[in-house]
């Protein structure tokens, strides 16, 4: 029987389809794993209910465990939140030039030049989890991972 740790190692190899620099574990999308003798059940929680990547992630998980009996349960209990992001996850977001989620009323820092002279352009962005910001210092747009 495999242990949870081994399963996590496999899951950590599955990138988020929209932000490939992060894997689905770092994204906080795995809420629970249940291992029994016959089956592994992986509880996947959606970031946003309408996120089109969810289906792809489900398929990616199933194909990563080809030789084992695996079931994916989509569950919103407990709900996904960016509050689960670790410091390392936030750092990785910065590395791919996405500003990590910030608490309300805190300055959004440009992931490129670290300037806090930034302004929101649109509450929505290229994926449900991001918004579009603008850096007055770089004179360039950047993406911000919304706090959720």
């Amino acid at each position: 029987m495999v242990n949870e740790k081994e399963i996590y190692l496999i899951l950590e190899n599955i990138p988020d389809p929209e932000i490939p620099n992060l894997n689905i574990v770092e994204m906080g999308m795995i809420s629970k794993i249940e291992v029994t003798e016959n089956e592994i059940v992986i509880f996947l929680r959606p970031t946003y209910l309408g996120c089109p990547a969810l289906k792809i992630i489900e398929e990616d998980i199933l194909s990563s465990f080809k030789n084992r009996k695996v079931k994916v349960e989509v569950s919103n209990s407990p709900i996904w939140s960016t509050d689960y992001f670790t410091a390392q996850t936030k750092e990785k977001l910065c590395q791919c030039q996405i500003a990590p989620p910030q608490n309300e009323n805190r300055k959004i820092i440009c992931p490129r030049c670290k300037s806090s002279d930034t302004i929101i352009k649109s509450n929505f962005g290229s994926t449900p989890c991001k918004a579009l910001w603008w850096c007055n210092n770089c004179i360039e747009p950047f993406e911000y991972f919304k706090r959720h």
Binding site: P46, Y48, L49, G50, C51, P52, I79, F124, S126, P128
Partner: protein, 259 residues
């Protein structure tokens, strides 16, 4: 799903879930019609995102409905293989998208209604509904913020933008009454203590809308409620059939087709 409810309660939970799902699916589809047509790129993306959230919410709500119905149906069956007269959405979500002002005013009216409803439902004793509401309310609050900002900007903008928002508010106001009409299923679930009383939603909604519209320098129309504006969810505008004909055409032409 383990279901400890008797047949009557299960049937009413199912009906209530349908009304919740239908409002969100139909509005989600309407908003998606802006994709590629919005006045600016950022709004095109914003509306597409909102549409996706609403359709996502409906899909999860339908999933619970299917589980409680226990007839092996899926969320796609509910969306694509029901006739217009079996839908339980309110009329405001069916109306054609209109101009940007019309869409944004409708979004404000519905998003705030959605917020208040989901907030209340997140305390439901029917756990799957409570869970999904807790999740969806975060998305919905964000939608309300988006439309609120636009209403204020356009209401206080140019003469034309102000005029267009006022026209949209005048046109849509009468349709808002139906949002607060208690359906049969809702009534029964409240009686059984499965969901909390929804009566407070109307006054809370009015309070917030009045503040926003006042800030936007927009007048609230004087319309008296009458039976036409408070019809049950079994009545629909002619627009629903047209919308469904388009939305359902592919799955109905090629049933069970897989990508």
């Amino acid at each position: 799903m383990k279901n400890n409810y008797d047949e009557l309660v299960s049937k009413n939970i199912y009906d209530y879930l349908l009304q919740l799902g239908d409002d969100r699916l139909i509005l989600g589809h309407r908003v998606s019609e802006w994709c590629g047509h919005a006045p600016i790129l950022e709004e095109d993306i914003a509306l597409a995102n909102i549409s996706l959230d609403l359709i996502g919410q409906s899909s999860f709500i339908y999933k619970i409905a299917c589980e409680i119905e226990a007839k092996n149906r899926t969320e796609d069956d509910l969306a694509f293989y029901r006739a217009p007269n079996n839908f339980k959405c309110i009329e405001i979500v069916e109306l054609p998208k209109g101009d940007f002002a019309f869409t944004i005013v409708r979004q404000l009216f519905f998003s705030l209604f959605n917020d208040l409803t989901l907030n209340l439902l997140s305390n439901s004793h029917f756990i799957p509904l409570a869970e999904i509401s807790l999740k969806a309310v975060k998305e919905s609050a964000y939608h309300t913020r988006h439309s609120k900002e636009w209403i204020k900007r356009l209401g206080n903008g140019t003469e034309e933008s102000h005029r267009k928002i006022q026209i949209a508010v005048d046109e849509l106001w009468k349709y808002t009454f139906q949002m607060f009409e208690e359906s049969q299923s809702e009534k029964l679930l409240i009686e059984k203590g499965i969901i909390s009383d929804t009566k407070s939603i109307k006054s809370d909604w009015l309070k917030v809308i009045e503040i926003i519209l006042t800030e936007a320098n927009i007048k609230i129309p004087e319309v008296t409620e009458n039976h036409l504006f408070t019809r049950t969810r079994n009545f629909h505008t002619e627009h629903l059939s047209h919308l469904l004909a388009e939305m359902q055409s592919v799955p109905r032409s090629y049933p069970n087709l897989k990508w």
